[in-house]
Symmetry: C2
Subunit: 344 residues, 2 copies
Amino acid sequence: MSKDPSHTAKNRRHSDQITLTQVAKSAGVSPITASRALNNPAKVSDTTRRNVLAAVERLGYVPNLVAGSLASSRSKLIAVIVPSLINSVFVEVIKGLQETLEAEGYQILLGNTDYDLDREYQLVRTFLGWSCSALVTAGLRHNKACHKLLANWDHPIMEVMELGKGMDLNVGLDHVAAGRCMASHLVDKGYRDIVYVGARLAQDYRASMRYEGHKAVLQAHGIDAPIVELDTLGSLKAGSESLDLVFAQHPKTKAIHFANDDLAAGALLAAQRRGLNVPNDIAIAGFNGLPLGQHVTPQLTTILSPREEMGRLAAKELIRRLSGKNVYRRQHDVGFKLQLGEST
Amino acid sequence: MSKDPSHTAKNRRHSDQITLTQVAKSAGVSPITASRALNNPAKVSDTTRRNVLAAVERLGYVPNLVAGSLASSRSKLIAVIVPSLINSVFVEVIKGLQETLEAEGYQILLGNTDYDLDREYQLVRTFLGWSCSALVTAGLRHNKACHKLLANWDHPIMEVMELGKGMDLNVGLDHVAAGRCMASHLVDKGYRDIVYVGARLAQDYRASMRYEGHKAVLQAHGIDAPIVELDTLGSLKAGSESLDLVFAQHPKTKAIHFANDDLAAGALLAAQRRGLNVPNDIAIAGFNGLPLGQHVTPQLTTILSPREEMGRLAAKELIRRLSGKNVYRRQHDVGFKLQLGEST
DNA sequence: CGCTGTCATGATAGCGCTATCATTCTTTTT
DNA sequence: AAAAAGAATGATAGCGCTATCATGACAGCG
């Protein structure tokens, strides 16, 4: 099983790869018929199809998808661009996409922007070069060049995570409303000294949309809406460290509305370590509804976002569009749900 | 920004896509020179390069990577096949791969087998059809057809996660040794009634390799090594539910060696909810060193596996190989580390 | 001054597949 | 029975790019 390191030095003229032409010859048909037998079985007779499939087996033929894509100028590839792989939220969306798309024979070309819109542009350029059938990207915000590129692209574009008027298709939820929802809950519970804690809000702008909702509710009640921004991305560790920061800046804080469950759970566990009672000494709320939050004691109050569902729905809509069906609703609100725990 | 749903009905003869030939014409050079200016800048004069790049900008040219791959029979694609996306362990490996490969201009083609080796074979077939430059797959076990296909493939193959003699390159850790390590720790701590708890061990065979190590140590001490297998994949929920199961089957259990941290943390949190003292009533150990385990109280005793590091190292080795350098060490042991918490 | 070597560029010929149109043969329709 | 429609197959011509070999220009060298 030893490998020759000089892969690159292959003589293109003597490729040992089995081609469709060889399969066709072996099956006694023309290449184009063999192609049809594989890609459009309904177009050939049963006998032919069987012969071709037998030849494929016999020769161990592996279709060259690159050649097929070039000839047909479409590919069974779908580009998926996310801002982060650390954040399990995006991974769950990918999972939903993956399972639905793979079942339809599509492959995922994965890109990670690290919350950098210029990086997103580069990835989009590359992916368009692969003649992807469609592109899925997280968020409605893109840089100018990217926007222009996508606007002129004649394939479906699916923007996920947040809800709004996008380039083309959209599946997401209303983050401002989610922020309002949690803030209302806290206010209703009687909390007045409420701090919002987020991480890198310029990047994670959906978290700042939730803050907008949060602030609006608090202000409507005549309450201040202080915010503490962390410099590291959301994680248990950051959440745990944020407690000190919050109390240093806002000593009277009675409730913390965290931008996500990782932060919230980190803070909750940290609070317990230092003997604070949650929610009596400090109430804690999160966002996302990660399993973790449901397993800590007290159970975390959070907002459940249907992430895998979002991926699945996005994939289904794409498939509908790709199979030529008209798609009427271009925006899909997957909603969210307030998950009451004992942490507030 | 409205999209025409009839994407498929495009007239191939009148593609509006800018081609390299147009760029070349606009720059006043031949197509092949334009190609060189973009892919092999050192091969053309400074003036030419500038002219071509200017034309690219001017026309908004996006290279057709499909055509390029067909002509050169190689692509800047790397196939990555993992058994699961729910398990954050694989995602972290992907992340390590991703950041290293993307920096070198490679794209990741992602496949998920759901722990099904036949599915893996299908994915490999598809990915080979894309003329990927290399393939990364989790694990050393493949079905027969897959093995044959890969053995005849003349590109680098990287098998990650576990250590052993594989098809080609290998980066991983010794799971049997990891199992031994944790078992030794538990025995040294004085525990004798130790249960190993895993989930779907036929699928997650690395977990059963750890059990082998675990069992060997216990037997060497003349101790029984009972095992409890769960029917659901590892998760906090499964871990939490496993407690009852363990005590029902082995009432005297004093320590549980979980196959992973999700299970262990779930059990630990569940134990706390029901007022059990960890580790006095029940000791709990995990595997992976997820952040979660480091933030619960008591901190989880676990084995730290360098997952992102594994991805990065695998990517680096692949890049070395792809850039024509000889790779001497074909196996890389990334090791593991016993992380002592207060849960044992 | 011819000889070799290097550099920059170009002409040609595919890579392996499928869109398109053409052909043959069979079936259905009037 | 002739015409029209359909079913199955094939010949041709690319898809947009790059490997390969060829060319011309110019430097260094004995």
